[in-house]
Symmetry: C2
Subunit: 443 residues, 2 copies
Amino acid sequence: MKAVLPDEKIPKFWYNILPDLPEPLEPPLDPETEKPIEPEKLLRIFAEELVKQEMSRERYVEIPREVRELYAKIGRPTPLFRATNLEKRLRTPARIYFKYEGATVTGSHKINTALAQAYYAKKQGIERLVTETGAGQWGTALSLAGALIGLRVRVYMARASYQQKPYRRVLMNIYGAEVFPSPSDRTEVGRRFLAEDPSHPGGLGIAISEAIEDVLKDENARYSLGSVLNHVLMHQTVIGLEAKEQIREFEEPDVIIGCVGGGSNFAGLAYPFVKDVLKGKEEYEFIAVEPKAAPTMTSGVYAYDYGDSGRLTPKMKMHTLGHTYYVPPIHAGGLRYHGLAPTLSVLVNHGIVKPVAYHQTEVFDAATLFAKAEGIVPAPESAHAIKAAIDIALRAKEQEEEKVILFNLSGHGLLDLKGYEDFLEGRLEDYEPKEIPVLNGLF
Amino acid sequence: MKAVLPDEKIPKFWYNILPDLPEPLEPPLDPETEKPIEPEKLLRIFAEELVKQEMSRERYVEIPREVRELYAKIGRPTPLFRATNLEKRLRTPARIYFKYEGATVTGSHKINTALAQAYYAKKQGIERLVTETGAGQWGTALSLAGALIGLRVRVYMARASYQQKPYRRVLMNIYGAEVFPSPSDRTEVGRRFLAEDPSHPGGLGIAISEAIEDVLKDENARYSLGSVLNHVLMHQTVIGLEAKEQIREFEEPDVIIGCVGGGSNFAGLAYPFVKDVLKGKEEYEFIAVEPKAAPTMTSGVYAYDYGDSGRLTPKMKMHTLGHTYYVPPIHAGGLRYHGLAPTLSVLVNHGIVKPVAYHQTEVFDAATLFAKAEGIVPAPESAHAIKAAIDIALRAKEQEEEKVILFNLSGHGLLDLKGYEDFLEGRLEDYEPKEIPVLNGLF
């Protein structure tokens, strides 16, 4: 079963959760002064409209017509499916729906904010966007956004991924982006790490630092981030706003599920439903799923921390494992992050969103079952949400409950088949994190 | 711009071109007797309902409800897009529409017939389907169809692809299929080739022979073919039947384009429009695009030939390069075939469908331009249709004509990024076929 969306119900506004949060966000701190950061400093890094949106108290922000046209071009509205075959295989009385963001042309939800960020940058006269990428989903999305809108794009990609996952890089090159392995010799930060180790594998933290340093050297460039920040999560709410209209054609969900790295695909689906809970109108259950190898919500602390290991970003109050935490090399590259979106951190603190963590072997097991039942091979990141959905459906079976489950299938796994091969051939490792800096007083 | 399809317009019948062809098809010949083959022999190879459909004179054949439900599950109806950004980049007055079959969960049109074939086999009580695969699109589609319908699937995959393109194999394994490198030691044909060369790279011809031999040894198994035959092309007409409703929301096409290997995606889009031309109701132009490395339509002959190099299949009257023709290793693996669907051969003979051939470098160039403009990275096969659409759009610009172009984007290229890498790095070779058996009296 597949629900589409009639034209008149396609969202024209994003939903901004800031005015509805149960407590105000703590301000980001300047990494040099440890005081609330001056907007001028942010304007040198981000496009102006995005800085405004980051602080905005407006509940609904209009999606520009040009961005809505681009949303249609890249495959929005995405379909909402009912996983009838999975239900049958589980013999559960639960009804399982999923929003399929893998149906966009770059194969994940990341394009939703990439297009918005590129649009505002172009409007401001900016010529180039610079970013980092880990697994490559975000770099791919921003590269395409640049091609569609007419902006140059430069991506710093962790050297290990650059070498071991060449196809994401090829994809970015097809879209016309420049891709550099990080650490590179193009920045001071990069050269410092290369001096330590000429074949340094790199990491998201270093790549962020290189991207920001690059931007600070070029007046016509700005930095783009693919998760964590308020404006990014807001752009993603197009997912949940569509899903709400689509699922209501059939029924109301009881449980809403998403996987969490920085938090953007989770927030994208969930926040428009969270709104109704915050206003006392509905009683949905929200499950945020993270990997046990990066247990930000289930084992981290709520504290001010940097967004990168190079300490160049503003400090944010969030759930964190510590910016020096080394995330083990799980296949779900998009969930390998030490921190969590500040807004989502608040919702977790208030018990509105419940976190759960899984090991990657059980996640790939769920992913394979899902693929056989529904045909879609999920990204390892998104498969975390599937694992949680299956667990809840099995619990509903035990308790003979007709639960209605909705989860976000944030991307397909067609560029992650190496992980599946490792799983099918019994080579997959699980990682129990041993050294979490925040728990050992290391930061 | 994206057109969906309201529920009431979703096709409930496939279109069978046989009763409308300008001349009757010549019968397939028994490879042993050289006489028209007895249906009983076909029934041992194919599911019964498919043998009936192969000969059927019924113009519209009902799509079983179960198959229609599965079509919805795998992403049908697929979207029809207008390539507005490509039009702008070309500065053409032409309007370019494309039907996007890459939106299905296996990423190509092949699933349309795979589901139908698996459905009829299951209904008949068959337990296992056996097939061959070259590029892997067809094997992937049949593997998923087996998983969804509850049939075992066995795939013989050319050894070179099995080793060099492991990810298609992983995809089939995820769906639960058995995949063997061909030539294998499981069949006489396979052992014969292995005896000649223990590391034989294999090929589609050998793999077909192995699949058929496998089926003949197991009463509960049947063979499945992914193109060429009438029933396969008929199942694909769901593409064109949807597209007709979708494009008519805007306008009538002037030119209809598809790439051609065996002919199934071309026929799928075109035949429902060909019908109107055959009945004198409309005057569309049809362009069938093939690679210069396998120029079946532009350089082959119209003659009886085998479908495989092992001479196990019935002989069919078709355009062919000769069953001993070695197709050079172009990246568009799905177009590496020596023959052509008999029905399409008749339409080419009558001048209703016009063939054109391109080299792979110019095809990848068109594909990259398209990806930058529209976001979708096309399969190298489908990119042949894009190249033709671009050429026609540029001619329309010269002649200041408002042509309406419709082409089939039969699949995405996310598992073909190696070809793009070779193209971007200038390593791509073009092949001028030198030894075409039929032209040299070699068969």
